[in-house]
């Protein structure tokens, strides 16, 4: 170990705490603002200490919504976000793991072309094909539906690649052994391969849940009904009205509620999160 002299070590601690302060400050402000009186905030008189409106603001945010034009309870938006995030995460894992299984454990005509067709979708993020995709979803009558929110985001080349890579490392002996036991391809998949993939699936789930919860552009386009809004879209609509009418404590409470689930997942499942992030980006 290269020894660090005392003075340098203090500098390192100081720099890290400054970094943490930079990272945490905007969030601190949002939590504080969500407990204060709107009139004070609108005057630019906001204090940097918690106010006394915590319960009242969060109650109104979750169960009532803003008093302005879009009167949609944020609780409902969170439910929509949750359904979408879960559908994207579970859907991606489910369809990717079975297609990776087919590509690794079977030889069939068009195996490699199919692999490439899936692989190339890495290069077609939803942002570059928004309007044509919107048109297709509209033609399929899936606007304002959970299917429309989730399906176009569900195909994932990264997840397929990840499972493919993992399956390649699974020893062949396992397959031989279960074949001797008389297991067919589906039994082998269910009884042997799935249990082995648990950690990979969990790590992937953490990342995909966060990405799904944080989707913005796509839900913005395809939800027109207020009751189908996700929380990310809802918060934007709260600040559309003229500045004077923006109910900042409610906006900030919504921001806090929008951050809570994914931040909770990152902090509590940090190991899986880091693993998932590193694996999917490789």
């Amino acid at each position: 170990m290269v020894e660090e002299e005392g003075f340098r070590r203090y500098i390192a601690h100081a720099i890290l705490w400054i970094g943490i302060a930079i990272v945490a400050f905007p969030v601190y402000i949002s939590v504080i603002a969500s407990t204060q009186d709107n009139a004070l905030i609108a005057n630019g008189q906001m204090s940097l200490l918690p106010g006394g409106h915590f319960l009242e603001t969060y109650y109104q945010t979750i169960f009532v919504g803003t008093s302005g034009s879009t009167r949609e309870p944020v609780g409902n938006m969170m439910l929509n976000s949750l359904v979408m995030a879960l559908a994207i995460a579970i859907g991606k894992i489910a369809i990717s793991i079975i297609s990776a299984y087919a590509i690794v454990y079977f030889r069939f005509p068009f195996r490699m072309p199919i692999f490439w067709i899936i692989f190339i979708t890495l290069m077609l993020p939803v942002e570059v094909r928004i309007y044509p995709t919107y048109k297709i979803v509209a033609d399929l009558h899936m606007l304002d539906s959970y299917a429309g929110l989730a399906l176009p985001l569900i195909a994932s080349a990264t997840a397929t690649l990840l499972f493919r890579q993992f399956f390649m490392t699974v020893p062949d002996e396992l397959l031989e052994a279960s074949r001797i036991d008389g297991a067919g391809p589906l039994r082998f998949f269910w009884d042997t391969l799935l249990p082995l993939s648990r950690t990979n699936m969990a790590a992937l789930f953490v990342i995909l849940f966060i990405l799904g919860w944080n989707q913005y552009l796509w839900p913005l386009l395809i939800t027109t009904r207020d009751d189908m809004q996700t929380i990310q879209v809802g918060i934007r609509k709260m600040i559309t009205t003229t500045d004077a009418l923006t109910e900042w404590p409610i906006v900030m409470a919504t921001a806090v509620l929008a951050m809570l689930p994914p931040v909770f997942v990152v902090v509590v499942m940090q190991k899986l999160f880091v693993r998932g992030l590193v694996e999917t980006e490789k």
Partner: protein, 293 residues
């Protein structure tokens, strides 16, 4: 590389790939193809007839000063976001890589902003730096700066860059830390024995050994600045004031939203696709297998 032990089945593998293949074909290839076809067509004002116009939509785009400005702006944003976020994250990662007490706590406290969605990032920062009620704006005005990002285009651009770079710190930090931890400690010891001071050790030993990670992160950050800043821009400035924060992706969105020129919007999408293909290509060509974690 292929597996030796495999199953024999004629239909099962097709059934297994069918769901993914169906989604990919319906929601990826079909729309992408539509965009390509649409980009060669010109629709009349009432949407009643379309004519095949070859590359006219593309030529019009590149003759349009607003599009050219958006290209330049997007690249400037990318460089500014990647540059500021990467350097701060590298500094923090180098500090956190030292044998300090509480490193795990530092890591936890630094990585969670990864989970904050871009629109929420936008809301947080516009609130802090709002011209009339922002907590930080008071100090800027006290310093004699006429702060109003809702009217001043350069200030709006600075605000977007600041917010976007802030969000990306944790991601970059995490990968820098992983990269640093992969460097064998004996390398530093050798340099220390040779008498290299810490700063010199960083520039002559750490930085070169970290270059694959830096390159990888540079590409990822550029892609991030191109696409994921949409939510930040849309909640903070809506591309304004004027068009001073309109990036390429934002332009596809807003041009299409106004229901205006479908052919032009499609051509813009196709150009973006080509850009993503180039960036992904670079990532795979130069990054894969060279970055180790």
């Amino acid at each position: 590389m292929q597996k030796q032990a495999i199953f024999q089945s004629k239909l099962l593998p097709y059934a297994l790939v069918a769901p993914q293949l169906a989604i990919v074909l319906i929601f990826f290839y079909w729309p992408a193809l539509q965009a390509v076809i649409q980009s060669f067509l010109l629709q009349d004002a009432f949407g009643l007839s379309t004519t095949f116009v070859w590359f006219e939509n593309y030529i019009e785009l590149f003759k349009d000063p607003a599009y050219f400005a958006a290209i330049v702006r997007t690249f400037l944003f990318s460089l500014a976001i990647a540059g500021s976020s990467l350097s701060l994250a590298l500094l923090l990662a180098v500090m956190a890589d030292k044998p300090l007490r509480g490193v795990m706590l530092y890591r936890t406290l630094l990585i969670w902003p990864y989970a904050v969605a871009p629109p929420v990032v936008g809301v947080l920062w516009i609130f802090m730096l709002h011209p009339s009620l922002g907590v930080l704006s008071r100090y800027l005005r006290a310093m004699g700066i006429d702060w109003n990002p809702l009217l001043d285009g350069d200030q709006a651009a600075a605000l977007i860059i600041l917010a976007a770079a802030w969000k990306q710190i944790s991601y970059n930090f995490l990968f820098f830390l992983a990269g640093l931890q992969a460097i064998p400690k004996s390398v530093f010891e050798a340099a220390a024995i040779d008498g290299a001071r810490p700063m010199r050790r960083f520039w002559t030993v750490t930085f070169p050994l970290l270059s694959p990670t830096i390159f990888f992160l540079l590409v990822v950050n550029i892609v991030y600045a191109f696409f994921d800043t949409f939510g930040i821009i849309d909640t903070m400035t809506r591309g304004g004031p004027g068009t001073s924060t309109v990036t390429l992706v934002y332009k596809v969105y807003s041009d299409g939203l106004l229901g205006g020129n479908l052919g032009s919007s499609a051509a813009q999408s196709v150009i973006l696709m080509v850009l993503v293909i180039v960036l992904t290509g670079i990532q795979f060509r130069f990054v894969e297998r060279k970055v180790t974690y």
